[in-house]
Symmetry: C2
Subunit: 349 residues, 2 copies
DNA sequence: CGGGAGGATGGCACCGCTGTCATTGCCGCC
DNA sequence: GGCGGCAATGACAGCGGTGCCATCCTCCCG
């Protein structure tokens, strides 16, 4: 059973099927104009030889690499992974392969690196996630190279590239409303890393909900975090040290919410009786911590899948229309998950 | 400043530098036998044109793709991501690119898919993580294709492929010893998914520690979990429902430990006073839950880096030695993290 | 019954690079 | 002074496909 030691090429298939190379190529690529019996003969030959087209040769000749790149900044925990799973799902379904590249957006040679990634590998398309979604250098290089790209949760929607996101402002608004409805009036807020889109939108939603409910935003109750556990511990301390402390705390992500919960536990608070806490993102952590965290779920995987679909759709019509306009900007639905970390404030049965 | 719209090729560089294509190729590939001034001229031309070698063409001509694949089964949360980060670090450092492929090891066409991945993309090497590390079909295909691969935490070390792992048995042994040292004698154990290597090794370590300390392994205290939160909730219930219940519980991973903690909280236990809990893996969850979990940290990223190093080392000497023998089997050091989820058993001040 | 449309197939250049081998020039050594 | 040896360079044939165009055949229609 030891076949020929060299991998079969299209030539071998052609010879075996008694057809020309070109016709085999047509069958492989599911092009039209091949008679049924010829097709069958070729398919049989392909199966018999276990022929697998060489992607490298294919790409070289056709200027299409069947490669989609995922560019991201720092490996953002479960989020990044979910994105990849989503992308992978779609890539697989459409015969694309996924290439992942981290890019240090702070480094001075972002340009060089981004260019290397895009140009050397001849990526067909790219999906961008935070924090490179809005990096001007990366975007420029992509534009220059003419590589289509889709951005997941960009800061600003652009006219040249599609995007996918959820309405974070709205989500934060609703979540804050939930706390208000429970009777909370002093609601602390821990912001995320400065300048992140998410930080701004979530904070805006919080402020608007309060204002709309006739509650003034008290700057004393707003802390600046960094999206990390450690940063939030300090914030939680300051918040809980206050004489007239908040009865609820809205942390801009789950990790920071976990820090608040831990700090509260440390002080012997019973949750949620003494303090309500909400997070954002619904990381796996959220339902495994105790008490399970009320939070917002972004359909991250689905967002990635949508991004991939848009990209692949774009690629498939390459050459026909250069770019559909206006480019799509999808807003996916989020879910508010009410779990057990929220309750009426103490004293208000 | 709008250069030529076509990407520069090696020919353009050669022309500009007044050299032959081949010599440019030599410079690009850092081969010997190029005079200093020629080298300089070529490098200048490369810089001036912003020339980037086309990987596809390079691969086609050289039979080397500079592509390393990461094959994994189900997206295993933070673990998989850490692996990728580790691999990425090394790939970047050595000019390789990472291609990630999920492979449904239960599907009937694993063979087809594995073969497609390996043969179509002409991967130079592959890193395997659970649960495909020991899939016979995948391994066979890799062997047949002659693609070097490294396995991270395989069930069985093989003579044909290097591996990287930690001593899980020893880690579980030490962790159990810790509980014993605190004074616990009734120590519950929640096993992982049946047939996983990790499950067996961790359980073995637990048993041996007990036995060595003169404590009999009580089957009533051993539950079969599945590495998931949900599975462990049921186990925890059964364990805690027992009249003579354990004073400590060793869950085979952090996620299951979180379930035990949650169940204990539900029952109003105060942790760790009423019940000690330990996990395994040190997922981000471990330090963010409350109380922070005593667990074992596998240097996952480092393991991935080691795997990549081994692989890249192998690739770089391709053709010289076909395979170093014996192949390396690295065992990396783990860390026992004593946090606040463990204490002396109740009644033993 | 001639001509044209369009399906089916093949020929061949070429994608951008590397491997192999040939060639050149120079140096050292007997 | 002739010659082997080696550094330095180049010529050229592929690697395994695809794009474009030519060709052939069949069928339909005026």
């Amino acid at each position: 059973m030891a076949g020929p030691d060299r991998k079969p090429t299209i030539i071998d298939v052609a010879r075996l099927a008694g057809a020309s190379i070109k016709t085999v190529s047509r069958v492989i690529n599911k092009e039209r104009y091949v008679s049924p019996d010829m097709q069958e003969r070729i398919e049989k030959a392909v199966a018999e030889l276990g022929y697998q087209p060489n992607m490298m040769a294919r790409s070289l000749a056709s200027e299409r690499s069947n490669l989609i790149g995922h560019l991201y900044g720092d490996a953002g925990g479960p989020y990044t992974l979910e994105i990849q799973v989503g992308l992978l799902n779609r890539c697989r379904a459409h015969g694309y392969h996924l290439m992942i590249e981290e890019i240090d957006y702070r480094s001075p040679n972002v340009e060089q690196r981004a260019s290397a990634i895009v140009n050397q590998m001849r990526l067909d398309g790219v999906v961008l996630t935070a924090p490179v979604t809005d990096n001007p250098i990366v975007l420029r290089i992509l534009e220059e190279a003419g590589v289509p790209y889709v951005r997941v949760t960009p800061q600003q929607e652009s006219e040249t590239s599609p995007s996918v996101r959820i309405d974070e402002r709205q989500a934060a608004y609703t979540l804050t409303q939930h706390l208000l409805a429970l009777g909370h009036r002093r609601i602390g807020f821990i912001k995320g890393k400065a300048n992140h889109t998410a930080t701004i939108l979530r904070y805006t939603g919080y402020c608007e909900a309060l204002t709309d409910a006739g509650v003034t935003v008290d700057p004393v109750l707003v802390e600046q975090g960094e999206f990390t556990y450690a940063s939030a511990v300090a914030c939680a301390r300051r918040l809980l040290d206050q004489p007239h402390r908040p009865t609820a705390i809205f942390a801009s992500n789950d990790e920071m919410a976990a820090a608040v919960v831990a700090e509260a536990h440390n002080r012997g608070f019973s949750l949620p009786a003494n303090l309500s806490v909400v997070g954002f993102d619904d990381t796996p952590l959220a339902e495994m911590m105790w008490p399970p965290l009320t939070t917002v779920r972004q359909p991250v995987r689905e967002m990635a899948e949508t991004a991939a679909d848009i990209l692949i759709g774009l690629l498939s019509q390459r050459g026909k229309v250069d770019w559909p306009k206006p480019v799509p900007h999808q807003v996916l639905a989020h879910t508010i998950l009410l779990r057990q970390s929220t309750a009426r404030p103490p004293g208000k049965a």
